[in-house]
């Protein structure tokens, strides 16, 4: 198999897209991705579908895929570094879902999606342990999922308020991508959470990062909370993007020469509320990512 930088040529340019997950639109005022595409085609050129296999795909995701519109598959239920998580039943269901969505690639937070086994009440999301020993098991999981699905698998930096380990998050993900020979999904809001938690500048670690592997970016709103004098960010996917996230997004777009897609995560907000956010993100995009669908 050619190396990832050679395989990059096979990945489509998706441009600006929007995310969803099972039942996201049940909430009053939540975003209707198809309506957004109808009203603002440039803002919803693809749909990133969050998938928890036990829930499956909702009608919105199925309808989008049935129209042949582009998608990506964002997993919400696999601990990549845990070989027992790749059981036959789960993998079969992933392959069936991939056959429906025909996603451009798979992606998802490379962290702890559940404690214990995969069972009711045990879902959560924690970042990986940022130590060299955690790189190889994570890379092996990425390779296993890529081989099982025949699609590229892009690990994403997860959110968190408690980060364990001494590596910088960007260094950990650069090492993981190198070991798995894969691309990366950089979540700008999640990275801002890490930098804040470590007391670092928003762009700390940027100089040595593997920018040529960054294929996708996420941009989302968040809220700063304080608990007992401890400030932390809730990744609420609202429309108020924090200044640090914008700083990271602008700098990342400048550096990520192989960028193919940007997702604005705002699935719980009405169209009128999200349009200004999409316009602001679109203004940052290079021309090659801005073309009409």
């Amino acid at each position: 198999m050619p190396d990832f930088l050679a395989r990059l040529d096979l990945l489509p340019t998706l441009g600006l897209g929007v995310s969803t997950e099972y039942g996201a639109r049940r909430q009053d005022g939540a975003l209707d991705p198809a309506a957004l595409r109808a009203e603002h085609p440039a803002f919803a050129r693809f749909l990133e579908v969050g998938v928890e296999i036990v829930k499956g795909l909702d009608d919105d995701a199925r309808a989008w895929a049935a129209r042949g519109w582009p998608t990506t598959y964002h997993f919400l239920d696999v601990n990549l570094d845990e070989p027992d998580d790749f059981d036959r039943g789960w993998l079969d269901a992933v392959r069936e879902t991939v056959a429906i969505l025909e996603p451009a690639w798979l992606c998802g937070d490379a962290g702890l999606w559940h404690f214990g086994g995969r069972d009711r009440g045990q879902m959560l999301l924690l970042p990986p342990v940022l130590e060299p020993e955690a790189v190889t098991p994570m890379a092996e999981g990425i390779i296993a999922l890529r081989e099982a699905t025949g699609r590229e698998v892009l690990p994403e930096n997860p959110p968190g308020s408690a980060f364990v380990g001494r590596l910088h998050l960007l260094e950990f993900f650069a090492r993981t991508a190198e070991a798995a020979d894969t691309g990366l999904l950089l979540d700008c809001a999640h990275l801002a959470m890490f930098q804040r938690a470590r007391g670092l500048d928003p762009l700390a670690g940027f100089d040595d990062f593997a920018w040529q592997r960054v294929v996708e970016l996420h941009i989302a709103g968040g809220q700063v909370h304080e608990h007992d004098g401890f400030a932390w960010v809730e990744d609420d996917h609202g429309v108020a993007v924090l200044p640090d996230t914008w700083t990271i997004a602008r700098a990342a777009i400048e550096r990520a020469v192989n960028l193919r897609a940007i997702v604005v995560e705002c699935e719980r907000n009405p169209i009128a509320a999200v349009v200004p956010l999409f316009e602001a993100v679109q203004a940052l995009l290079p021309a090659r990512l801005r073309s009409d669908p």
């Binding site: 036990v54 570094d81 845990e82 027992d84 059981d87 036959r88 039943g89 702890l112 404690f115 214990g116 086994g117 069972d119 009711r120 009440g121 045990q122 959560l124 924690l126 990986p128 342990v129 130590e131 020993e133 955690a134 098991p137 308020s161 408690a162 364990v164 380990g165 001494r166 938690a197 909370h225 608990h227 007992d228 004098g229 401890f230 932390w232």
Partner: protein, 259 residues
């Protein structure tokens, strides 16, 4: 430098997120056999306040337990049920890739709620087995997924049904209004044999069953060769000429399956 298993560190972190007392023990000096010194050092570096940002984490998990064990919760009180998340059984679930609901019922609950806990744990197990992937058939026999044989104190089923009825159509709401644990005690004497069984409408039924049937299905917990299971049936009282036919009947009734 001592060893570092990233998964073990993450598992300990989960326990710290659920249980401030465990977090304090990790930060302290008393021995913790599940963690190496290097692993513990990494966890000690965390700001304790960073572990308390999701104040609903434990409540969400408790909700699942209350939903699956409503009668046991009414008997014990919610505060007592909540202690599960600070228990060695919960930590074993986290470290051993367990099921929280099953470990609550089958390990932590023990005899605290007598046969009622056994019924609710059986129902929890049956729900999970129905969704479980089936391995390649080995030509052996075992109890069918979702079929759970139980032995409980005599009169437990009727007691459980009355208690369940008393909690009404929304047991969780009833539990939140409960100011103290029920004073009523479930039966503790004698023996009753029960079978939890999937129904055609997808629900789970519970009914009394004969002791030999319950014992035979308990003997078929793990896949066994047909001849071996037939011998068990004979030991339990089946006629030696009818044992094979009995196994065929149980296969037809979907109480046993080839596995």
């Amino acid at each position: 430098m001592s060893e570092l298993d990233p998964r073990r560190v993450q598992q300990a972190l989960v326990c710290m997120l659920f249980d401030p007392d465990y977090a304090a023990r990790v930060r302290g000096r008393e021995p913790l056999p599940e963690l190496s010194e290097r692993e513990r050092e990494l966890l000690r570096e965390l700001d304790p306040r960073a572990l308390a940002t999701d104040r609903m984490r434990r409540a969400r998990a408790l909700h699942v337990i209350l939903d699956e064990y409503p009668v046991s919760a009414a008997m014990l009180g919610i505060d007592v049920v909540d202690r599960f998340f600070s228990s060695p059984e919960f930590r074993a679930c986290v470290f051993d890739r367990g099921s929280m609901a099953l470990d609550f019922g089958e390990r932590w609950l023990g005899d605290r709620t007598a046969g009622v806990g056994a019924i609710e744990a059986g129902l929890a197990r049956a729900r999970r087995e129905l969704g479980r992937e089936r391995l390649e058939s080995t030509q052996k026999l075992r109890r069918a997924p979702g079929v759970i044989p139980l032995q409980v104190p005599d009169g437990t089923l009727a007691w459980y049904r009355r208690a369940r009825e008393r909690l009404g159509p929304d047991p969780l709401q009833a539990l939140t209004k409960l100011r103290k644990p029920w004073p009523h005690k479930p039966p503790r004497r004698g023996r009753q044999h029960l079978l939890i069984e999937p129904q055609v409408d997808g629900t789970l039924g519970i009914a009394t069953a004969s002791e030999p049937l319950v014992e035979l299905l308990r003997a078929a917990e793990d896949p066994r060769p047909r001849a071996e299971l037939a011998s068990v049936a004979i030991e339990l009282g089946a006629d030696s000429h009818d044992a094979d036919e009995l196994l065929d009947d149980l296969l037809r009734d979907k109480l046993l399956c080839e596995w």
